[in-house]
């Protein structure tokens, strides 16, 4: 009996002791170079300033939506901060799985005093979403294709031009972006794309345009596939996230160039899971406020070529931490790269995704 008491007391002490020593925060992200950039720019300096906080990284952002729902149903939220793309943030907010935030209260103001809601501006696409970076889905092409006779693609519609630019293309295995590009290259004006895509005829029109290159497309589902396919010469042009192409071109020195034309902007950022206990929530809010301030967002651009989501961070973007090259010309938001951009309509896709995805999958399997 006595022994048991001693053991119990000892265990209790050990738990109490570890809790007093360090508070664990579980932060979920995408892994790879992106997560490393977040660790370098956000949490390493934060842990240095707050030695009692211990950040644990989890690489589950890919299945974050489903896992958060499962955690919510089980009533046991083990994550404190989750990195998701904007469309997933909207979905999580709709499902009541993410906490609504008040930008001006929960996020730091810019150094000149501009409130966060203005500094982030339109990028606050959902009540639950704390933007972090702007990235884009765009094309990279090999610059050493003999069959092209010295020509290089200059605009998005060259993707559909098999005569001037023969060879395989890689596109993402989902309708988003592909449908828009197809319509743009079939003569639909930019501001009418979603109105057209809303109709059955418009969807048929987009599929007909995609049909013209279907036999020459390799479909990817993970962002790393296109860089690999380009490096292996499996494809000559391919779409992927601009940071992946940056790594392929600048770090691995492959003969690949960026197309940038009609790049589709997308956002990535944090959400705080709904239903966290008060003490953990307070700690998470402190971390988020720190990690999304002007300097921290600018710092992240030292490690990866994604644009900071705050207007006030843009002038602070410097050089790559290892390569020593200027990062600004590699940002999707750089004026030279952003001559012709496309804005991805989150609300519209939240409505039509289920329907068009079913049609897209049926079209793929035909």
């Amino acid at each position: 009996m006595k022994l048991k008491t001693v053991i119990l007391a000892g265990t209790a002490l050990a738990f109490a002791g570890s809790a007093a020593l360090a508070k664990d925060l579980t932060v979920v992200s995408w892994g790879g170079a992106y997560q490393a950039s977040q660790k370098n720019a956000y949490t390493d300096p934060y842990s240095a300033e707050n030695p009692d906080i211990n950040v644990i990284w989890d690489e589950s952002s890919n299945e974050a939506v489903a896992k958060l729902r499962a955690m919510n149903e089980a009533g046991n939220i083990t994550w404190d901060l989750v990195d998701v793309v904007a469309s997933d943030a909207i979905r999580l907010c709709d499902e009541g799985l993410a906490l609504e935030i008040n930008p001006d209260e929960d996020l730091a103001a810019a150094p000149d005093g501009t409130p966060a809601s203005e500094d982030f501006g339109d990028l606050l696409v959902s009540e639950c979403f704390i933007p972090q970076i702007v990235y884009s889905t765009t094309f990279g092409y090999r610059s050493d294709v003999d069959e092209w006779g010295g020509k290089e693609p200059t605009e998005i519609c060259d993707i559909f031009d098999l005569e001037t630019f023969p060879g395989k293309r890689s596109l993402e295995k989902r309708p988003i972006n592909n449908m828009e590009w197809a319509l743009l290259c079939d003569g639909v004006p930019k501001d009418e794309v979603y109105n057209v895509l809303e109709t059955e005829e418009g969807q048929a029109q987009a599929f007909a345009k995609l049909d013209s290159i279907k036999d020459n497309v390799v479909w990817w589902s993970a962002g790393a596939e296109t860089p690999q396919l380009l490096a292996d010469k499996e494809v000559v042009i391919g779409s992927t996230y601009n940071g992946r192409l940056f790594a392929l071109i600048e770090e691995q020195k492959q003969p690949v160039k960026m197309l940038w034309d009609a790049q589709v902007f997308d956002l990535d950022g944090w959400i705080i899971p709904a239903g966290l206990p008060e003490d953990r929530l307070a700690e998470v809010k402190k971390l988020v406020k720190y990690a999304t301030d002007t300097q921290r967002l600018a710092d992240q651009a030292k490690y990866i070529s994604y644009g900071p989501a705050r207007k006030s961070s843009a002038p602070l973007v410097g050089q790559h931490a290892k390569l020593g090259i200027d990062m600004a010309p590699h940002m999707p938001t750089d004026p030279n790269n952003a001559k012709n951009t496309f804005l991805y309509n989150y609300e519209w896709w939240a409505d039509y995704r289920d329907d068009i995805d079913a049609k897209f999958q049926a079209w793929l399997s035909q």
């Binding site: 890919n62 489903a66 499902e95 589902s221 079913a358 049926a362 399997s365």
Partner: protein, 421 residues
């Protein structure tokens, strides 16, 4: 025949009928055995059967509409969906009452996503209306204010969906899994450009059978060799079989990519030897061929191991006896050896087939568009679209299909005729 005819009842020493005493003793025995396996049984029930049952239940469960809009669901019963007109002011008033509560609890957007699976646009309808609800006049008239918030409230189809999915249980997910839908006129097939699931079920079954057969064709000779060779050589061979088995699945799948792609090792070799021209490189990956090759390789050990353990028990003296009675090599094998190895074939084939029918990561990586399985769509609905109801009904159908194949297998081969060793 009966043993209870008078004077013939067998009794124990203390006069009780022997039969009853025996039954009691047996019952006690059974209870004790049950107690012994109870921990395992409870564990399996809680961690395996219960979650599966819960997931299957989601394929018909639809309480969200009645829970979020309780008053509207009652009020809308009066409304005739074929009337061609939107419901009356009372229904809108009920909707207002429900929406105020729902917005307060933030459940309205969740309902919006649920109903958006049935009709595009309802998700934003609920989100938009939720934002406007606080500014609405409590006194009414509500119909006008709702139409003002979003025109879609004036569409009959919106209300048809709401009414159709108001019951607590729905067959809608299952209809969807069969590429069908409920319309005002009744159940009908979806338009041709949206049909996908039946086709994918068919492809999953077909490819799984092809993979099982190719595993058998490749695995049988290897298992035969393993069983026939002396122990030292066969151990070495066994390690070669098991080594890939222990290697990460993703590594093996990626290795096939390197080998099979158009600029890959095999194509390079064939071009170098002049068998194919540089322009005529073979397409062996991102299609069905890729899926079949990669999955056959990955599942091969599951065929070889049961085959081997059954073949190991076949005594070589049977074949020798057959030969001494005048059979040639082929007849001795086909008439004597092969029938004895059938239980191993049964076990291996069932194992490989069941595994391949639910596989999704390899088809996702090497299957392109023509080599993906139904499980890829289930994974999509679980992790991406969050349509767990549809995922559950697709999963249920897959489970039923497998069970039916089991019954067929039992009728043809006999389930007793399966041996793992």
């Amino acid at each position: 025949m009966s043993d209870t005819t008078d004077g013939q009842v067998l009794t124990t020493q203390d006069g009780k009928p022997l039969k009853a005493a025996l039954a009691r003793a047996l019952r006690r025995e059974k209870l004790r055995a049950l107690m012994l396996i109870a921990p395992l049984l409870i564990f399996v029930l809680i961690t395996f059967v219960a979650p599966i049952a819960d997931m299957l239940f989601r394929s018909v469960e639809n309480g969200i509409v009645a829970d979020t809009l309780p008053r509207t669901v009652i009020a809308i019963q009066e409304w005739d969906p074929n009337s061609g007109e939107v419901p009356s002011e009372e229904v809108f008033a009920a909707l207002y009452g429900d929406m105020v509560v729902a917005v307060d609890q933030k459940t309205h957007t969740r309902l919006g996503s649920r109903l958006n699976y049935e009709q595009s646009g309802i998700s934003s309808l609920f989100r938009k209306t939720g934002r406007r609800i606080k500014r609405m006049d409590e006194a009414g008239p509500f119909k006008e204010q709702f139409l003002d918030a979003d025109r879609k409230w004036g569409n009959v189809s919106t209300w048809q969906v709401l009414k159709q999915f108001s019951p607590r249980y729905t067959g809608g997910y299952f209809l969807n899994s069969f590429d069908a839908q409920q319309t005002a006129e009744g159940i009908e097939m979806k338009p041709a450009d949206e049909r996908i699931y039946l086709f994918l079920f068919g492809r999953t079954l077909f490819l799984s059978i092809v993979i099982t057969v190719s595993c058998l064709l490749l695995g049988y000779p290897i298992a035969f060799l393993l069983a026939a060779l002396p122990l030292r050589t066969s151990n070495l061979l066994m390690i070669l079989v098991l080594l890939p088995f222990w290697t990460s699945l993703l590594v093996r799948t990626s290795a096939w990519k390197v080998l099979l792609q158009q600029q890959g090792v095999i194509n390079d070799f064939l071009v170098w030897t002049g068998i194919i021209s540089d322009a005529g490189r073979l397409v062996m990956i991102n299609n069905q061929t890729g899926t079949i090759i990669a999955m056959t390789h990955i599942l091969l050990p599951f065929m070889i191991l049961p085959l081997y353990s059954v073949m190991k028990t076949i005594s070589p003296s049977y074949v020798r006896a057959a030969k001494s009675l005048g059979a040639n090599d082929w007849i001795a094998f086909w008439r004597v050896y092969f029938p004895q190895s059938v239980p191993g074939i049964g076990a291996g084939a069932v194992l490989v087939f069941i595994l391949s029918i639910g596989y999704y990561i390899t088809p996702e990586l090497v299957g392109g568009t023509s080599g993906i399985f139904i499980s890829n769509r289930i994974a999509y609905h679980i992790s991406s679209s969050l349509n767990w109801g549809l995922a559950a009904s697709l999963g249920t159908l897959l489970l039923v299909a497998v069970l039916m194949l089991f019954v067929v297998y039992d009728k043809i081969v006999g389930i007793d005729n399966v041996k793992l060793g």
